[in-house]
Amino acid sequence: MTYLIKRVAGAVVVLLVMSFIVFCLQSIIPADPVRAVAGPSAPPETVEAIREQLGIDDPTVVQYGRFLQRLVHGDLGISVRTRRPVAADIWQYLPATLELALVSIVLGAALSGVMALLQFRFMGSTGIRLAIIGIGSTPIFLSALLLAYFFWFRLGWLPGAGRLGFSGFTGPTGFNLIDGILTGRPDVSVDALKHIFLPALALALPIGVAVGRSLNGALHDVLSQAYVRTARGKGLSETSVLLHHGLRNAASAPLSMFSLQVRLLFGGLLVVERVFGWPGLGLYAVQAFASADLPAVLGVAMVFGILYIMVNTLVEISQSLADPRIDL
């Protein structure tokens, strides 16, 4: 319990530090905000009044406090590019990104199992080793491009752009895979699945390789332990040994690697959404970079940062549940 409180408190501290960095960044906008409101020819008294009103002369701590207050109320400013509140934009694009991220994570977990099995089966094979180093060395935009080029353009098996083949569909949750089923349109779900497969695979490949490698290493260590020999000696089947004695004890290192990879996913989302024209937060952020839309950039950074810290904290807590020896 104390562990849990410590973890959550740690996460809050990290969040505060991050929000302070974002606060500093948003206050270095080159243009003078007072002149922007007052106009270039305003008399000094008006300028003074607006300075007062905007609170520019207040101490930094007070300004930061106001910034936090706005943040808690979900006020992230107005986007320069779309001229809408950043929070509304983010709310609109978030489901697409979450859907892609979740499918990638599930696919990545499945792939890591396959990779670990392959490595376990063909131990020391140069081919497998080279494949692992190769996939680990591939920048995400290259794997995304190659997947799009072959499976969409060359073979025509899967669509290579967007979320859905038909327009005008909106569901209650924003997750097309689920909405299709909820609204009794299974064709929508199937189409959404086809669209999500390639971008999700591009994101899942590095997860699968890194976690699979770590899982394989951890399993090797655990299976040479004495208690595993005892379990085998008791006459337990190999599957039972693997599931009851192997996996749980080998989970710690691969879980760390998994959490690291999930955290790396945020950078990958920007790239993959750009390559596949996936209308999510990543694409929104890339467009914001291109048009120097600072409120939008910082808003997305803040939302991604919060998700990142949440993932981190959840993984740490689940690790301590899997392995009671871990304690702060």
Binding site: V13, M18, I28, G134, P139, L145, F289, V297
Partner: protein, 287 residues
Amino acid sequence: MTSMPGLNTQPARPRFSWRDFFRRAGWLESIGIVGVPVVTAVALLAPWITPFDPQLRVAAAFQPPSVEHWFGTDEIGRDLFSRVILGVQYTWLPGLILIGFSLFFGSLLGLISGLMGDKVDLVIQRFTDLFLVIPGTLIALAVVASLGPGLVNTMIAIAIFWWPWYARISRDEIRRLKARPHVEAARIAGVRGPRLLLRYLLPGAAPALLIAASLDMANVIMTLSLMSFLGLGLPAPAPELGAMTARTLDSLTVHWWLPILPAAIIFFLCLLTNLAGDGLRAALRGA
């Protein structure tokens, strides 16, 4: 020196032999170890060794790869291979500088932390922990987007978040070494300060740091090219590898070589450094 038969008066210090080193590293990994200095040379000499002027029109536009133009030509008719060679310079050298800085600064902080112990150690460790859990790449992206795109801004933003791993590794190594008998013996013999550090502690900590740095090079290159891909690097005419891919993304189905070949070079650079790191780890382990 007259030597007595059967008695070796030389101290038992194994000679370093390159053959032994490469044998331990493995043949595939040796290619990586040899490749790293070669790529560094190419990056340094890039402006002089490109077959064509990378900024000028030298042929018709959109020529596919051929014997004369290995990587084809781009939308203006510039030689893509020459531009990619120059792009290696824009990626590789900043990567080396970033790794060098992180290695130096992180190790220094780790050394201080490990040597001083107690309160200093605690403060530095908390500071390092904070930087380890903060979403560094995301904040670096936001920093560059706010300060304005550019290679220097990108490098500064990455450098701020890159050193903590090195601080962690060097601190753990120093603490491990401090308890070893040879360091204890040196201390009892009155060795102190810089001499203890340089002669007794650093040589022991160096292999772990070097291995970490060589395996980390691929991560730095990927992050740099990610920033460049997202348009946060140098502006348009500069041949940055990530940006070259991003700018020609829409021509994938018509002129596949324009986006794919620069990205493939990034893959090649990462593969080389990953192999070199694995080789170095195998060769230095136990040495």
